[in-house]
Amino acid sequence: MPSIQSLPRMDSMGQLNIQNLSINFRSREGIVQAVNDIDLKIKEGEIVGLVGESGSGKSVTCNSILQLLPCPPAEISHGTIEWTGKDLLKKSEPNMAQIRGKEISMIFQDPMSCLNPYLTVLEQVAEPLIIHNLATPTEAMQQASDILAEVGVDRILTSPNAYPHEFSGGMRQRVMIAMALITKPALLLADEPTTALDVTVQAKILSILKEACLKRKISVLFVSHDLGLVAELADRVVVMYRGKVIEQKDTASLFQNPEHPYVKALIACRPTLESSSDRLPTVEDFNNPNSCCIGANESFTSTLLLHERKVLLETKELTVEFSSKDEKVRAVNDVNLAIREGTTHGLVGESGSGKTTLGRSILQLLQKTSGQILLHGKPIVIGNSQQQLHFRRSMQIIFQDPYASLNPRLTIEQTLIEPMIVHGIGNNNQNRKERVVALLEEVGLASEHLSRYPHQFSGGQRQRICVARALTTEPQFIVCDECVSAMDVSVQAQVLNLLKSLQESRGLTYLFISHDLGVVKFMSDEISVMQHGTIVETGTVDAIYQKPQTEYTRQLIEAVPRANRSTNIFS
């Protein structure tokens, strides 16, 4: 393309050099050091993965490169960010605007909110070229449509005037990629670009991103919380923990010999498709060298064979329809499901496949349209409030977001005692309080937490409280609706271990809904795969993962990012 003068590139160019960077956040409670004296280098054409859990400072670091941090409250206390030999921190706002989008561009996490709904997709992709005077408007439009076709947004050729709402999340993220790449930047910052997407879509987006960047020799800083994902993509991985860089290495050597205990833990506590054990190691295990469970894969021999167990809950031709103004949508379509006592039934599928609707209709939180739900072989009847109470007592649910699922105005004690009052459990408040304390200890909290409010707990602790609340009525069956999806791997491992040990001690039955196939494999005895409201495949864990019968299941399993090079370490 002759119209774009490629930037004069020296050998040192395309090299980002962050040195001794420290970033503080000022708040009423004091100063929080979000980034603490980090060094980071990106060579030309290199793909660097930046990994860490939420709050580790990875996004702050990424945003500071383009000076996109709100200052105040953020404050860069010292350090330099050198881009092609010049310190970006000393540049003025107009000079930065010249670099943003032209030399360094960025892709954000949520493709739904990153596009302006009032402009056509083509206009938005062409805009960076026009703003930076790299092409005339007509040329820009032509290039935009070329690059959109390249990243797989074929629709643009047939309908050039399409608006963002006409595209799915995956397509919008492709649009974002096209927009970021159209100016041929030297560096691309990608902040969790696929976190909001389904696994199959995620896999496609990543391969497009990698291919496009390799072709153009663009270096990439890929920020993610998912180590497996980064391993697939990056040449080199930088791990951040509490504002510090604790390890940076080539991807292969990081997985083969991680040095820092946290990195070892991070690699191990992620339930993968390859590993199988009864308990996930947690970060604490790695901080405590005496712990026995690292690598000790106690082989689990189930005392009772799966098919010998009684069926606890069954759905027969269950259908749930939602009617909006002009059409009926079948969210759940003719589903037959049998969940056996004391087992975990995994339910996987992409977003919109009807998993959550199925879970809620089993609990009668949503009205079913037709079909039957059987508990112990008998249809569930909720005629009067007495039957309703009886039914509610035997089935509970744990939600995805522990922040939203606790009433912020009630203390933990009030939250946990209320179900007992409603269901008439315990004779008096003293007795109930004792039960609550016992429950809290069972889920790993202490009696001193009783008088606190939900906001005073971390996400993992809140989820423990939700588990305790679900257990107050001593149910037999619990629906876990994406209950660890919002958590960092280390916290996720703790909650999963808790759920497993509770299952053993109380003989609970779970319906475990998740989009994460690794987590589902770790938790489940049987798995059902859902697509467009119907169950396409049901089977034991081994059958599903080793011999998937349908094409859709195969795609789902193949799309899971895994650190192939690490496969042998854990077995």
């Binding site: 409030s385 977001d401 939203a404 409010y453």
Partner: protein, 287 residues
Amino acid sequence: MSMQTSNSLGKDAWLRLRANRMAMLSLFVLIGIFIISLLGPLLSSFSYQEQNLDKVFQPPDKEHFLGTDNLGRDLFARTTYGGRISLAVGLLATLVSLLIGVSYGMIAGYAGGRIDSFMMRGVDVLYSLPFIIFVILLMVLFGRNFLLLFIAIGAVEWLTMARITRAQTLNLKNTEFIEAARALGYSHLRIIFRHILPNLLGPIIVYATLTVPAVMLLEAVLSFLGLGVQAPMSSWGSLIKEGAEKMDAAPWLLLFPGLFFCVTLFALNFLGDGLRDALDPKSSQDG
């Protein structure tokens, strides 16, 4: 860990409110104004309706320390007497509007669907009725009664409250903790009053503190039309209205009732803010 026993929301809220200096100061100011309004007419050596045509438009002096009006009535007696009526009208009407509006809005929002649209269309119809005509109609039907004035004003002011409450309830209804409450088998009434209502308090209190002054001013308008408080009785609203007309000749007639009115409103606003924060467990940093 100073709190060993579990505190109710009310007790926690009181502890937090006590720590808020502005709110506590406002609370004392309000209590002071209440006491002056209750006791002022009794303490004053003049009655609110006693005319003294020898001493019209008297500026504040030792005898009439807030001055007198065009008929020589003592302004202190009139202002404190008017305070009783204004405060009673303002608070009672707000209370009525709160009771009707919040329960109506919560029921509509929680029920959803057809019941919701039906109830809210009813609100729209009432909105479209001209307020004055509505009040005159009530007066004609029930006769002129002081209590009725509160109810009439309250019965108009609840509409906005119902809308605010409904919108907030709709948002809350879909949160997971309400769903969890349903899954635990709680009754609808329990969910509405124990789980939804406490979470609505913030916007409700803020709107209530805005309603009180609005009601006090409405009372003045009604009085002006001859529908509310009639001379020789007084209220802050009617005193301010009279004072504004005679501002050039006797500025104190506007100044003192206005001062009482403003101080009360400021205090109510600060107290409302304080209450909103105090009732929100998240606002305190320590446990």
